[in-house]
Symmetry: C2
Subunit: 405 residues, 2 copies
């Protein structure tokens, strides 16, 4: 816990505990006071006082649960005021733009989506910002009159510099610095900054907090798009590295001699061997549609007996298995989650991937669970919402004081 000069120890502790209670209600609510006391190691009178403050602020409410308590009275549970407090979440993927209004507690209340023209995505900043700001204003206008916006978060398919949120556009489009988040914030005109993160990092965060990885301390998330991104949870926290460029598992070299050229300038990177281009080329489908649709078409063809498609998926599965085995030896995770286009690829190539894991992972670390994303195409959007909620969960009353009415 960081100490704040001028705060008394009591105030410091109280701010910390208020955030911890709100986080529990946000991620796991509705939840009883007894369960909260147990999970947070606090006594019931402390929980009572914290609940009273959060209730007075209108962030949570208490209501009777279906279950009854010891004395036969209905037991009270705390739940987030999802209708009153929300964030805006944005997602800039290679082939689509999406936005959603997400309530405290996590429900996606309303959403918008549009395709993104892939051909020119290195210089479509203004167009992307325009579309998303339009979605954002529509979502705010459609919200109930007494609902308030707590912030905004965005997921972007590029490397994000941690220091200032600059989008350092990925190898696939050449290195370009885009000041996306401030531009979106200005165009939205809500007086709220837009927090930003890399799509695979946010996908990992979402799967860890609300998806396949709930309860796991160590998680590896692989996200397939044109390339392959990664998000890794170590000891319960997102691995970011010195500058925010951690978990770039797509650029782990797995095939140093005969490897396919990679857009990063190297060759034999995991992304070069298992990315969209590698799959479509091996399947003889370079002329057709790319993206999620293109990958799904190969998977469906293989399921319908197309031998070329089957072999393409086996080849990709072998390389993916080598990469995943390396990651398991490095991170000793409890779970590996496949998201984006790798969701479909994993379902079709699981036996090849498991065989590689069996062959290459140290026997002591083979207990790991491999599975597809639980949040599927929403993982990055949900992660962007969690990024936007992080300020209020860190210090609820301070964040409310800074929220415009």
């Amino acid at each position: 816990m960081s100490a704040v000069k001028g705060d008394t120890p009591q105030e410091e502790i109280r701010r910390h505990h208020l955030g911890a209670v709100l986080r529990q209600v946000h991620l796991a609510g509705p939840v009883s006071r007894a369960a909260l006391a147990n999970r947070l190691g606090l006594n019931r009178s402390t929980i009572l006082a914290l609940a009273a403050r959060l209730t007075a602020a209108g962030l949570v409410c208490e209501e009777a649960s279906g279950a009854t308590g010891r004395a036969g009275r209905p037991s009270l549970v705390m739940r987030p005021e999802s209708g009153r407090w929300y964030v805006l979440a944005f997602d800039v993927a290679v082939d689509r733009l999406a936005a959603a209004r997400v309530g405290l507690g996590g429900p996606v209340l309303e959403r918008r989506e549009a395709p993104r023209r892939r051909s020119r995505y290195a210089d479509d900043l203004d167009e992307v910002v325009g579309v998303l700001a339009g979605f954002g204003r529509e979502l705010v206008d459609a919200a109930p009159r007494d609902a308030r916006c707590l912030g905004a978060g965005a997921s972007y398919c590029g490397l994000i510099r941690a220091a200032d949120g600059m989008v350092r556009l990925a190898p696939n489009v050449g290195w370009t610095d885009l000041d996306f988040a401030p531009a979106l914030s200005r165009r939205l005109g809500l007086g709220t900054p837009v927090a930003i993160g890399n799509e695979a990092h946010l996908g990992a965060l979402a799967e860890h907090e609300r998806g396949a990885g709930v309860g796991h301390r160590n998680l590896v998330y692989l996200h397939g798009d044109v390339g392959v991104g990664g998000g890794i949870i170590v000891g319960g926290r997102l691995l970011d590295g010195d500058d925010g460029y951690g978990a770039e598992l797509g650029h782990m070299v797995v095939n140093p001699f005969d490897g396919r050229p990679c857009n990063c300038g190297s060759h034999g990177c995991l992304e070069a061997e298992v990315g969209e281009a590698a799959l479509l080329e091996a399947a003889g489908r370079t002329g057709g549609p790319g993206g999620r649709a293109g990958v799904r078409a190969v998977v469906e063809a293989a399921e319908n007996g197309d031998e070329t498609a089957r072999q393409a998926l086996d080849r990709v599965g072998d390389w993916l298995g080598i990469g995943v085995a390396n990651l398991i030896n490095l991170f000793n995770p409890g779970i590996v989650v496949f998201g984006g286009t790798l969701n479909d690829i994993y379902q079709s190539a699981a036996p090849r991937i498991h065989a590689r894991v069996e062959a290459n992972v140290l026997p002591v670390s083979r207990q790991v669970e491999l599975r597809t994303s639980a949040l599927r195409d929403d993982a990055t959007l949900v992660g962007a919402a969690e990024l936007a909620f992080s300020r209020i969960l860190a210090d609820p009353l301070d964040a409310l004081a800074r929220t415009t009415p």
Copy 2:
């Protein structure tokens, strides 16, 4: 910060702050109260009270520094009572056994070392425990009469199960469970448990706290022995994984097609390509001595113009460079440290390693510093001492209450 039931918030905070002050004095002392206040974000009256408690417990003392304060008076600095408080540190490497008495504040006060017979190291538990316990008792007997032992820590060249400290002996000797730490504790007879960790994990910890990596949040440490181990610091904390088997970077497959067989059962692992056997074989020196001496002999031969030795080091440097580049893309660290036998190999093969980093690392992450271990052959021993100190740094007064007089 974890909350303890029954503790008042004030007590909780005070325990936390006492540990934080002692940690600063232990790692960076002598240090002035003003510097402590600044680093910990606490006001000077709080520091004064904490310093008084630590001084009363005899853990630190305050004395005049050489510098003078604003009013021309000599300024006071706090330093650890290194002569009064110590831990025992043990190191079980493939080819040597070492022990040291290490004072609070980190000085190695006295040490013992013996060679280990490599040929039978899967079943020399009793012999190893006997030698180390003998060293430990000698070190305790040689300590001043008023000095007190705060605990013991051991570094072991095998995987360590986090849940119970079981040594799950590495692939190089087949999987064997050795209950080493309790056996050493019993034979020592000091009534203190022995904390245990993997040698490369502890080497990373030591380089992070007292060596080449001080001040870095993200660090990758590669440790050469017979095989290649790893220790990785992510966001200031050691990566352990679900079971304690994280950072096994020696078993990252870098050469899946033509790779040399690895003792883990796979082939093309980083360890198989750059470990001791790979180097000695390529240098045509399989009949000679192995271990640190064998590796140093190859490095010296290359420096003296031996072309076969040069080529062997170049080959190992190329593979090491591929592995290191992968690790930089995954962890975006500020520094990569080469320890154990890789210390010597890095010094000789640095140009090949840097060339691979330049070719394979994403441009945004190339600012990383590569260097040799600052603690050299003591890294694992220093890490074992830090492991032993961790209890008193977490909660000084509680740990003292549990220390036998």
